[in-house]
Subunit: 330 residues, 4 copies
């Protein structure tokens, strides 16, 4: 099961093609729409004012409500685009956004309106893909759940803390970053391999780093392992009935690149939204001189809240790949 996302922030539509979807899955539309809603913009003062219905339309790969195994394409219309906001950005790359890198990569032929193909809006099709992946995992008893573990420097923030942090940044014309922890429960032991391209952490990280704004991924105890001794970090085995388990899970469910039957746990860090309203230093790509930039338009002061379901989507897709790679494939 592989996904390819297409589209631009200000194009007519965006979408995703999923290949390798198992046949016979009865797609639960209520669930898909509720997942889309978890990411959708324009719902509160916490997020961008842009409003999109974000209702995916499946145009292939589903027949009489069930997947057929053929490539599944879902399309989402772009409706609330305001291209006039972005003219200055053609020549002045926004600091830490993809503008300059994309300018070089495309030889100057990028779509600069609203971030083009680099827009966070492209995570909408990713959430759709994740919702399908979760329905592939569900009958196998595998669940994926994530939550915010840090926001603006505050660990495990409450909902009211989250609102304070985001609104405070918004009032300052600034933005905040954070971390999200995620657990995949129910994965059988013995999946993966230590080798390049097959190890579970490598597979997960490739999906996670494809999520815009993710700059770090760590499994189990993560970077805290640098301050632990082996006697603390090691997860002792014990028998729980007939099942081998570990008393702690500092390894995040993966030993030697292979699942050990414990939940796969990881933390991802998301950078603060790059689009802020303060004046910033940049360059003018037409004159190749230093320049000043004030970004207008509509932007989230914090994408971490909306990204929780996106991280789950990436983890669900990664879990499907790990399951497919499987154990002694023949």
């Amino acid at each position: 099961m592989k996904y390819t996302i297409f589209g631009e922030s200000h194009g007519s539509e965006i979408g995703v093609v999923l290949t390798g979807v198992p046949a016979g899955i009865a797609l639960d539309w209520g669930f898909i729409l509720s997942e889309m809603a978890r990411r959708a913009p324009g719902q509160s003062a916490l997020s961008t004012a842009r409003k999109e219905a974000d209702t995916p339309e499946v145009v292939s790969g589903v027949f009489e409500g069930k997947t057929t195994g053929a490539p599944l394409c879902a399309i989402i219309q772009n409706t609330d685009t305001r291209s006039r906001d972005y003219e200055e950005l053609r020549r002045k790359p926004r600091p830490s956004h993809a503008d300059y890198a994309a300018f070089v990569a495309s030889g100057g032929f990028r779509d600069y309106r609203g971030g083009g193909h680099f827009s966070g809006r492209l995570t909408a099709p990713l959430v759709f893909a994740g919702a399908v992946a979760k329905q592939v995992l569900k009958p196998r008893g595998i669940t994926v759940s994530a939550r915010i573990s840090m926001l603006g420097g505050v660990k495990d923030p409450s909902q009211s803390q989250i609102e304070d942090i985001v609104l405070s940044a918004k009032q300052a014309g600034d933005s905040v970053g954070g971390t999200i922890v995620c657990a995949v429960e129910g994965m059988p032991a013995g999946l993966g391999a230590p080798d390049f391209g097959c190890n579970v952490e490598g597979i997960f990280s490739q999906y996670l780093f494809a999520v815009p704004a993710v700059k770090g991924v760590a499994f189990g105890a993560g970077f805290a392992l640098a301050s632990m001794r082996g006697s603390e970090a090691n997860d002792p085995f014990y028998m729980d009935g007939d099942t081998v388990k570990t008393r702690t899970n500092h390894a995040g469910g993966v030993n030697g690149g292979i699942t050990n039957g414990m939940p796969i746990t990881f933390e991802a860090v998301l950078r603060p939204t790059t689009s802020i309203y303060k004046e910033q230093d940049t360059v003018d790509l037409d004159t190749m001189e230093d320049a000043k930039l004030i970004i207008h338009g509509r932007h989230d002061p914090c994408i971490v809240t909306r990204a929780v379901v996106v991280i789950e989507a990436a983890a669900a897709l990664a879990s499907c790949e790990v399951l497919e790679g499987g154990r002694s494939p023949l």
Copy 2:
């Protein structure tokens, strides 16, 4: 350029096959051997007592001292193997080592001697591959350098602190973890893409998580981004002569999955060595009952010191892949 590592800790030989190596590179054997020496065991009280010459023999892909573009296979003999140390480990998996996961993955048919294919010894061929990759990068002005950024909880430790930390853990029959920072300098801007499978962070992370003991990877300011505001985290652009640069590099040289011309910087966390000499709880896979385990044999109390060159190797191989993917390939 792809690598495949083969071999087991107690087999007759281990090795690597590199495919996609550019033709015409005059391999610098002095350099290759010096890289191997940076990882080699048995050099001081800090590392395992196992001694290996670790001299790779190239058996294909090189003609008259230069690469031909054909698959390049290098073989390293295993000489100092002591299989008798590992008999108990067949049934008692070492906590947090790959033993149990490999047992399940292989249906019980793993090579349990000294970690088998999961042994840290398999990083020797990886260092060889990295040494070749560095010679591919060098004529393009690209360098890779890493150093220990934390050990046993101490940030940026001095050499004498490193020795204290490791020996103290060794005397306690314990082990320590740490972090390594790495910078790839000289990569041109505009390489990579935001999409799954093409983004620079995803490519690097896949190589890094294939290094045993790596449990986390973060680019630029990494997890500190969770406590930063956008106005701090953003890297302002400026003109340095004709070149677009950024004043800070919190993004680690990558925006939107594409290189921006600044050094690619990342930090990786390595867990403490799983093999410690203290008694640990485990299970007996024959009787499926709880059990106690005391590990004998020869083990590093800390692999972070020897892993610096391994992380560089992974980064060098990843850099080659990013270069190949390139910019508008046609």
Copy 3:
């Protein structure tokens, strides 16, 4: 540059996503539409009565008329679908069509209307992809051209022979197969490798066998090589000015899996259309008993004529992959 085709014969729309398209290509719409027209149905008595406008709409990856390097998605509406014709085919697989194989592969959840995802209609997005690929190749001086080399047993048929052969089969309620020869001219020497996954013939064949109805692919003199001696089959080298050429091209421009600078030539065989109007033996998948089948609906008595541009499309896409793999990529 990779393509993924999605859609079903009787869905709302079909399409293709192209990834890895170089940025900055000004798409020539006149050319694209003329290529689509070469494949379009309903143009004469020779082909199916189904009529489709077959005008692709590009929804991503193009900005101000030029490619951006982002995934390029093109969509074609299905307009003239008549689902009522296909009810009996749910339980009676058509001989030599994909019906039965797809029934098993999908666990019974296939879209059986008009061949579903297996329909020859899915070659329309392939022709679009090929038209883009040809525009990638054109500035590099590479051209792709194909023609019918056999039809219904007649070698190198004239246009009037083609009409006779097809109409004669049509009147008999039958169908005919044929072969198509294709040449890719202008490919530089030195591309490809002998190894699995890299050799030029292997790359081309993977694209060609993805074209429905193709059952064989042979390069250069092809199967005639089985009756030749080395002294006949070998292509002698000579100098044409500064360029090394061969006097004959029995190898089809490829030696040892690598281009030699001569045109890449191959022949593909396409089976007769599987949908014929004669009564055929089949089975009933509901009762698992022998059954008879008479196919109704609209079908080409010969797809070879419309497939010429499809074979060119596959060859153009393969040529792009060979170019990308290239020669000493770093």
Copy 4:
């Protein structure tokens, strides 16, 4: 299960690394050696005078006689190399051999001794890999068998005809080509997909074109389909007890890129050996002028006889990939 072959005709050793081998297979060494013997040179007047023991040594991935799932590397020593025969070939490429293409691809840094990495000798590790693949297929009831279907223009030649044809060519200092037919029996229905990269014919052809000298591959009735009508070419279904079968197998066991449960059958054409003893026209790569060449050294007048087991090996490896891709992977 993927293979990577390394080595050169005149290097110290050649070999193969197999990844993705299922764990727990007890390798049958008698069988492996008998397969190697079917390909080995120097056994009769029909083949090259070069003699090699061709005994593979497994250096990884096997423990106590069984596969572990870790990469399996097998090495074969080169013993009977005579490098002095090849000096002239450095500058004069042999017609239709890979010499010139490899010269360009490698920028002149190829190993020109005995064909280097392009030598037919590299099919020895491929036969080893095929022997492992056959042992993966055997417990699933899948067998692979091939035979010569044409040699030097003679269809289905008897053993004495084969000897006549080859010796006659040898006496003339010439060589002959031929075709090999192969059947894979026991493959379940429903494997594969119509899409690029997944279809059964495409997968098989990629393995087959990686065999040196193969220039064409056709499934089922192959190129004869160009002279057939649909009513002849279609394979009628019928019930054989509980099993759906077809009365004929002109489709070679594949419909729409998916197995239909009938044997997968194909024919491959192998060009005449390029190394002949007659004087040939070539060019001198040092002076870039026309030149004459008389090839010395030891060469098979016909490789078709020794290639039968090589084609089986490629088909066995392809069958493993088709099985792994499988049907609804989750």
